[in-house]
């Protein structure tokens, strides 16, 4: 195979990591909404944790994106 083609395929494979970020963000917001609808008075107190969880979940997916960018632009 042409090495540059392999590079592009590798970068594409690495960006599949963002699937996990999508699942994670969906889980976090879904569960937050579920909890917030069951007990609305407790919801504002957990908003900081929601944002923290969102950022952490998004970041793990972005690690995969960084791998893709490294494959594309460093090698």
């Amino acid at each position: 195979m042409d090495p540059s083609a392999a590079k592009l395929i590798g970068a594409g494979l690495a960006s599949i990591a963002l699937v996990g970020a999508g699942v994670g963000i969906g889980t976090i917001f879904g569960n937050y909404l579920q909890g917030a609808l069951r007990n609305p008075s407790a919801a504002p107190g957990q908003f900081a944790n929601l944002l923290l969880g969102f950022a952490l979940a998004e970041a793990t997916g972005l690690f995969g994106l960084v791998v893709a960018l490294i494959i594309l632009f460093v090698f």
Binding site: S4, A48, L51, L52, F54, A55, L56, E58, A59, L62, F63, L65, V66, L69, L72, F73, V74
Partner: protein, 258 residues
Amino acid sequence: MVEAHAAEGAAQGGSHLPNPMHQFEIERLIPLKWFGVDASFTNSALFMVIAACLITLFTVYAMHARALVPSRLQSVAEISYEFVANMVRDNVGTAGMQYFPFVFTLFMFVLALNMLGMLPYSFTVTSHIIVTFALAAFIFLGVTLIGFIKHGAKFLKLFVPSGIPVVLLPLLVVIEVISYLTRPLSLSVRLFANMMAGHTMLKVFGAFVVALGLLGGWAPLAFMVVFTALEVLVAFLQAYVFAILTCIYLNDALHMHH
């Protein structure tokens, strides 16, 4: 390094769209060489100076009146103070308030750099891994030193989770040590990756607007407005997460709860 190859990558791809990596290029504004070390004043350094000046001017000017009933500007300064103070108090406790100036400076600096990066034609300092890694490495070193100074050799107990079977200990201690050592890495990559991915995405979508022209460009332009709002949110959120994780690490070092 990344930038040089980015140009190459775009040339290989043969696309007609502008290179989305061009915005991350570092330029030497005032070339300087001290004892063989390249200490040039770059656009990255310029934006850090601007951010530091902006924060200083904002806090000093907003608080100069010291009114009992605050003006709008003074309210903003007070809200940002209270916001960070509450963050430190909630996560580290009152013992952590002596580190409040550090966390406040860190939060405001990262926030200013992220927000300055949202201005068109500006430079995002936090989209470079070396900047965020230097910040995270100093936080990691400082927090570890605080832990050892406070607890001495007992600080190593942080790596031994309590209430688990002795058989599992060798495995878990290794995992704990690795997870502790990767903290500066994950802290820096989180901020860097978010800022770089966001700005690259904005640039790519912006190129779509231009490529579709006056007639077809309206739909992607509407998306761009929404995405820009999302990026402003992310810029704030990442500064917040950076500061709150510093608080959590500080809490580990000060109280060693597990």
